[in-house]
């Protein structure tokens, strides 16, 4: 059976994928930018719009990282505003489960779900490091090993709150004077991390409750997703890695009595489209050069090596030292647990091609996922989905706010022609778009 593709639009983030030096690059904070991208995604009948979260500005060598976009708004507030200017598009918020309490999460997300008529999603992320914790009351209070335990308990309680009203509890009988059934919203829960009880103040939304997204990649993260998530925002965009990940995660579902369709796997991908394949390659190369300036190449190499490499010339050879793990040279972003093999690969490629450090970073780290004419891109994306490397994609544009426009104008029509992507929304809720049950 032909699978239908699911698409999401990721607002450009604070890593070097986002090109801010281009004349077309707009504000990362003005509401007009969010509105533009959301309206583009809705024009393209995308499933949802996705916002990441920041809890502390990134640092390199103890100073605020200044080479990439810095600063962003708080996601639930932006998405509540976008609910006013969109009608069908799903609205996904990344919100940390470590530094929020379940009741607060449940209330804010359910509010977004009501305000949008059933279009909200929660991307559950965790954090454990003391670096982020310095902005919060409890500091870095969690062991790394405990972060999913807390996340799982938090999600379980959030869902309990969302389900604390049955579908019949909201009565709204004006004449009789019954707003809600007595007892609606009552809850109590106790576990290793939480001890909560009381009443939850929001009934089910038109989609029941928000969709749950998960983005972790570790074995624990995958297991968490298999048990609890409805969408995985994965990092495995390439065909082979995508298939391996897809098979691994979907195989875990049976353990929890879940059908394969109940969890959609959507890797983050980048797309460069042009009139023909050669032009697209050229454009992609230009974008990669924009993404990796000399200073950025050094910082990305420092992230991999775990060492201060500021003495190196980005246009010279690769560092000769061996990488180290867990040095904390860069803070506030995901590092490498096993950098050795990657460094070896970089060295081999640099030697074979005569690349400088910067050229190596450009070629090894920032290769876009789909590059080509609209027909080439549509063909490749469809193959990924039909051959189970993905159920869909989270598109990460390199430009704010117009980076998605070429894809929606040129590729989406071809996906529609192939009958693998909707031409209009059949339903009104995000669960409708994703084919998920309530």
């Amino acid at each position: 059976m032909t699978k239908q593709i699911h698409l999401a639009a990721h607002f450009p983030g604070v890593n070097n994928t986002t090109v801010w030096s281009d004349p077309e690059s707009g504000s990362q904070i003005d509401f007009a930018s969010f509105r533009h991208l959301a309206e583009t995604a809705e024009r393209g009948t995308f499933d949802f719009f996705f916002l990441a979260e920041g809890l502390r500005l990134r640092e390199v060598k103890g100073r605020i990282h200044d080479l990439d976009v810095v600063g962003r708004p708080e996601s639930l507030t932006v998405l509540s505003a976008l609910a006013a200017v969109t009608t069908h598009l799903g609205l996904a918020a990344t919100v940390n489960s470590t530094f929020n309490e379940p009741y607060e999460l449940a209330k804010r997300l359910a509010t977004l779900d009501h305000l949008s008529g059933g279009r909200a999603a929660w991307n559950v992320v965790t954090s454990w490091d003391a670096f982020t914790g310095e902005n919060f009351r409890r500091g870095g209070f969690l062991d790394k090993a405990d972060r999913y335990v807390r996340a799982q308990e938090s999600l379980r309680i959030v869902r309990k709150l969302w389900n604390s009203w049955t579908a019949d509890d909201l009565v709204l009988a004006q004449q009789a004077g019954v707003f809600a059934r007595e007892g609606a919203g009552a809850f109590a829960d106790e576990g290793p991390h939480f001890d909560v009880r009381g009443r939850f103040g929001l009934p089910p939304s038109p989609q029941g409750h928000p969709v749950v997204i998960q983005a972790g990649d570790s074995d624990q993260g995958r297991e968490f997703a298999a048990e609890s998530a409805e969408v995985i925002f994965s990092r495995h965009g390439s065909f082979e890695a995508g298939q391996t990940f897809y098979k691994d995660v979907k195989a875990r579902l049976a353990r929890y009595g879940r059908a394969e369709e109940s969890l959609k796997i959507m890797p983050a991908v980048t797309v460069v489209v042009a009139d023909n394949d050669a032009e697209a390659e050229e454009k992609a190369r230009h974008i990669r050069e924009q993404q990796v300036s000399g200073p950025t190449a050094i910082v990305l190499a420092e992230l991999l090596w775990g060492r201060d490499l500021s003495a190196y010339d980005p246009d010279g050879p690769l560092p000769s030292e061996d990488p180290v793990v867990g040095s904390g040279v860069t803070q506030g972003r995901v590092g490498f647990n096993d950098p050795g093999p990657i460094v070896a690969e970089w060295r081999a490629q640099a030697e074979a091609n005569g690349w400088s450090l910067r050229e190596t970073v450009i070629n090894q780290q920032n290769r876009q996922t789909f590059v080509g004419s609209a027909a080439t891109v549509a063909e490749a994306m469809n193959r990924h989905v039909q051959e189970d490397a993905a159920d869909g994609f989270v598109l990460v544009p390199h430009l704010t706010p117009g980076g998605l426009d070429p894809f929606v104008d040129q590729v989406v029509p071809l996906l529609r022609e192939r009958g693998v992507f909707r031409s209009s929304y059949a339903g009104t809720t995000l669960r409708d778009h994703l084919g998920l049950t309530r």
Binding site: F31, L57, R137, A180, G198, R199, F200
Partner: protein, 361 residues
């Protein structure tokens, strides 16, 4: 000439009257979709009301089947309304006792960004058993302690709003730097109950500091007056004494008397509608209310915060009758026709950034 009064409207469910949701003019589902609030705020904006507050509490409304037993998160609702309004101030209630201060300030800063400088927050505290139990993080604390902590929360929020200088984003392609990190600052804040390193994740809000509003309904709340841009004084009793207490406690906040109103010139209708309401500060026509407002103005308040019994019945009367009457009597200024920040609208200055080196801003 009397001075121009600030006018504010409270949004709470279908209105302050417990039975407001039961009126035939109301679609109760519109409370949860936000449509009822959208319509009321748009009506108020068109009539020239300066700002809308949004009621909230951490805990859910009490489980009383005949009352509105559901409530949207106030800042979400205010954000939903921001894109469909362009002049009115938006001031959601945020309970600062349990939620992380870092999140609170980021949300309020974000509301200020998406509304182009029309945001504020009505800072509230909670001593209730219910709120403590739904969060489960700590025991309920006495009011004096929660208000003392609220002062610290407002203080650190302002510091975090200042942690980015207005011109921190430089986009300097020549050096490859997006920001000038010399213009982004750690706040290194410590209070008895929490510490925050900073800087904020959100660039400085358009107003510098979104408006801080405090409702003074108790002796303990007077502690926070020193941090307030605007104070709400609920009820009409002992107005002069309470006003004096606020003036003694605070630097120079604008003080708004906060009154529950049910507006109907037909006495029989008004009395019928008032049935079942908790005590209302004014029941009746707009003429009498305008007289009272003139008296309060004489007593020294800077404005009025109206809590309508019904959004659908009373807001249209406030918009079409009360505001024009206040203007006629020169109690209210002309409706502001153009989009300005809430601070500008209320005549409050743009705060200097405490971290900026002299001369840079």
């Amino acid at each position: 000439m009397s001075r121009r009064l600030i006018t504010a409207l409270d949004i709470d469910g279908a209105g302050g009257h417990p039975a407001a949701w039961r009126g035939s003019e109301i679609d109760p589902a519109a409370i949860l979709s936000g449509e009822l609030a959208v319509r009321a705020v748009q009506r108020a904006e068109a009539a020239g009301v300066d700002l809308a507050t949004f009621a909230d509490a951490l805990e859910a409304p009490a489980d009383v089947p005949e009352r509105v037993g559901a409530r949207l998160d106030a800042i979400g609702l205010a954000a939903r309304i921001a894109p469909v309004t362009d002049r009115i101030g938006l001031v959601p209630t945020l309970t600062v006792t349990h939620t992380e201060p870092f999140h609170l300030q980021a949300s309020v800063a974000t509301l200020d960004h998406i509304s182009s400088g029309r945001a504020g927050w009505l800072v509230d505290v909670s001593s209730s058993e219910e709120a403590a139990a739904v969060i489960g993080r700590r025991e309920p604390a006495p009011a004096a302690e929660t208000w003392r902590e609220a002062r610290y929360v407002v203080d650190v929020s302002r510091r975090l709003w200042d942690s980015w200088e207005d011109d921190a984003i430089i986009r300097d392609a020549a050096t490859g730097r997006f920001v000038d990190r010399e213009r982004i600052h750690y706040v290194d804040f410590e209070s008895p109950s929490f510490a925050i390193k900073g800087p904020s994740i959100v660039p400085r809000p358009p107003q510098g500091h979104p408006l801080t509003v405090v409702r003074v309904a108790s002796e303990e709340a007077l502690q926070a007056v020193g941090e307030a841009d605007v104070v709400l004084l609920p009820g009409t009793a002992d107005l002069a004494d309470r006003l004096a207490a606020v003036r003694a406690a605070g630097s120079k906040p604008r003080v708004l008397i906060s009154v529950s109103v049910l507006l109907d010139g037909n006495t029989a209708n008004a009395v019928r509608r008032a049935d079942g309401a908790e005590q209302l500060d004014h029941i009746g026509g707009v003429e009498r209310l305008a007289d009272l407002i003139a008296e309060w103005s004489q007593a020294g308040v800077d404005g009025i915060h109206l809590r309508p019994a019904s959004l659908e019945l009373d807001v249209p009367v406030i918009a079409s009758k009360l505001l024009p009457l206040l203007r006629e009597r020169r109690l209210a200024g002309p409706a502001v026709g153009r989009a300005v920040t809430l601070r500008t609208r209320l005549g409050l200055r743009h705060p200097a950034n405490r971290y900026a080196v002299g001369g840079r801003q």
